[in-house]
Symmetry: none
């Protein structure tokens, strides 16, 4: 079953808005076992729409469209489709009643524009849009299906969930499709694919695909297995087998499953072990705290942070010794260790993360080039430290340092030996 | 000049990631006066890529592609394009040198994987990607141009800005186009368009368009004037006239020009007035410090922060009185005022920003629902405070609070009366 998505709208083509509808629709369809073969965005002009639908009708079985159904002159999707499919327009009472009802909710009266908007193609199944004035349309031609929906995300979502997906499910025998994602940190795409080469070449059947999705800013790689077939349960058990193989191969490189983040996983570990955390941040400027607190409920384990962007604060608030700063400088193993110990004491937490480095783009020195960063993690017993040598991209250095520090803490919390 | 964008990647087709590359590329092209006719997303499989490029070659003059250039098995764009265009692959020393350089930055060695990734189509112009291992490719065939770039946003952005757009500009006779952007904070799109209605309807000529670009997360609206014509200097002087009109109408709602941020503008003001800043953050969890320090050189005016996510830290580190916390709670005017005063003293700065609130999604109470946030700004003379009532979206609450606090400081620094 080949599905094409066509989003109509100049505001997408000029880059004024990002096309999130296509992703939302694809997610819905995947849950129903329908894979999207192609997504296309075209201008809201007659020729563009007709060409796009015409091309799609040649190869696709199901065509889902959004956009161009509003009450204004430049909304021509309905008339264009009616013309393309050879259908007349006629006043559709149920559509108008819906508009009247919506206006009444806001104590407003409709006008003639909405009478015109209530004209629908005769022979199309009209999909009443209870959250907006533009009805959707379901066309069938030579066993192919064309659905037109408004481009307003919540109106498209309403029609997909309440009208389109149920009809598709009733009409077609769907192939089963299953996804499973592992999130990894510590090695790049290439190293991971080396580790998984045998699995990919010798063990994965043709109907199961492994995709590498690196995030070079956050410094992680998501590994997504996709299985297509007939029997959902069979696919699930197949995926589980290969996922556990991958976990065995990758070990502690895997930090989570599905849609998660390193800060969320560190939070789970701290909560389950009933531990508290603080941070002392120089070059990350509060980004470790910011990412930790982006997780709802983080106040249960994250107590606070001292962003010591200046040396006096390192000295007077965190208690880094003047001698250390004079002798080794702020970007040094000695300094971050004292920062971690000082933050842990001051903020009274079980663990403290400390970071000091040169985020760039300027401020480098021959012995300490831009991207030189020291990390330390202190607990009651000891202080771990690690040196990073990153690049010259300030934002990336800050995010990578944050990810690396959180991952280092994760490894400590799961009892991994740190070298 | 017809431009088509083709984004390759199953992760887009299954809705796992939203395709932001297409919008970014369209924005770049628009600034150069090139309009995008079609955006298409297809699977990273040989047949899909060949069909997409084949179809585009029939109608488009310029085809810009992203995705499928990584070093792993599922990255087949390069070989597919070489096959389609009848080109051999050969080892490309400059591409490999670039990879070696990138690895050296991280103190790592390359391996054979990257030798293979350095094979490029003979006859294509190789676009060296200084921020990633995958080189871009520029093909010309029958006067048509096909460009292939990596799908990693920052790598695509680097190649567009440094290699692709300059080549397109050199190759084609573009109409003269000029943009000027004003950044505003404090009022929404609708209020702004009311204020600018007379300008839009009576003063702007047909060849100058005003676009409203709201950012509902950061809480700002960019106003972009775009002028198209023949004479660049004429367009510039026309834009200047209308920009100064807009500035007069909008007054202090305008915080900056072009590609800037509220944190960068606040930084400029602090630096020019030789003032220092610190923050005391509860519900923003370090985000104000993080955004201030995302600006290179911010260490000249931003000294540090105390993220007081727990009440004991508000009390013991920032010196908020126990009585205040007991009587009014942490989310109160009294508390943020004491936090601001305490941070200013502790971190020894001219100004201090303090924030305490309920970011959500949970933690609300009848008298203090989710989204209730108190801000305070202290200087030597006095302490200003402000209450915000935001929504239930945690991330948006954090970013909006950060933007509002920084904007409040900006208004104080330019001598605006705060109410």
């Amino acid at each position: 079953m080949k599905v094409h998505i066509i989003n109509i709208g100049d505001e997408i083509l000029i880059g004024q808005i990002i096309n999130s509808n296509a992703a939302t629709m694809a997610n819905y369809l995947n849950e129903y076992g329908l894979a999207v073969e192609e997504m296309k965005t075209v201008s809201d002009q007659r020729e563009s729409i007709q060409n796009a639908v015409g091309q799609a009708l040649e190869v696709a079985d199901i065509i889902l469209m959004t956009g161009g159904l509003g009450p204004t002159k430049d909304d021509i999707t309905k008339t264009t489709l009616a013309e393309l499919l050879g259908l007349e327009l006629a006043f559709h009472q149920a559509s108008f009643d819906n508009i009247v009802r919506l206006f009444a909710e806001f104590g407003r009266q409709t006008d003639d524009r909405y009478k015109i908007q209530s004209f629908m193609p005769v022979g199309a199944t009209v999909l009443i849009n209870k959250v907006g004035t533009a009805s959707g349309m379901w066309f069938e031609k030579n066993g192919k299906i064309v659905v037109s929906m408004p481009g307003v995300p919540r109106e498209m979502q309403y029609l997909m969930q309440n009208e389109v997906l149920p009809r598709l499910k009733a009409k077609f025998q769907m192939p089963a499709i299953q996804h499973f994602t592992l999130q990894t940190m510590g090695k790049g795409e290439t190293d991971l694919s080396d580790m998984l080469e045998k699995l990919e070449t010798e063990q994965l059947p043709a109907h199961i695909k492994l995709a590498y999705l690196p995030d070079t800013i956050l410094g992680k790689v998501r590994l997504r297995l996709t299985a297509k077939g007939q029997d959902t349960d069979l696919l699930k058990s197949e995926l589980n087998t290969h996922i556990s193989t991958m976990k065995n191969i990758l070990g502690t490189l895997v930090f989570g499953e599905g849609d998660t983040s390193i800060e969320a996983e560190v939070g789970k570990l701290l909560r389950s072990q009933n531990l508290t955390l603080s941070t002392a941040e120089s070059c990350t400027g509060g980004n470790i705290a910011k990412r930790l607190t982006s997780v709802a409920g983080s106040s249960q384990y994250f107590l606070g942070s001292v962003v010591a962007y200046s040396n006096p604060i390192k000295e007077q608030v965190l208690g880094v010794s003047k001698q250390t700063l004079d002798e080794y400088g702020a970007v040094s193993e000695a300094c971050v260790k004292e920062m971690a110990v000082g933050a842990r004491k001051l903020l009274n937490t079980d663990y403290a993360i400390a970071v000091s480095g040169i985020a760039g783009p300027d401020g480098g020195r021959p012995d300490k080039p831009v991207g030189t960063i020291w990390l330390a993690i202190a607990n009651k017993e000891q202080v771990y430290s690690k040196k990073l040598q990153l690049g010259s991209d300030r934002n990336r250095n800050i995010e990578m340092t944050t990810s690396t520090a959180l991952n280092l803490l994760r490894l400590l919390l799961i009892g991994q030996e740190i070298r």
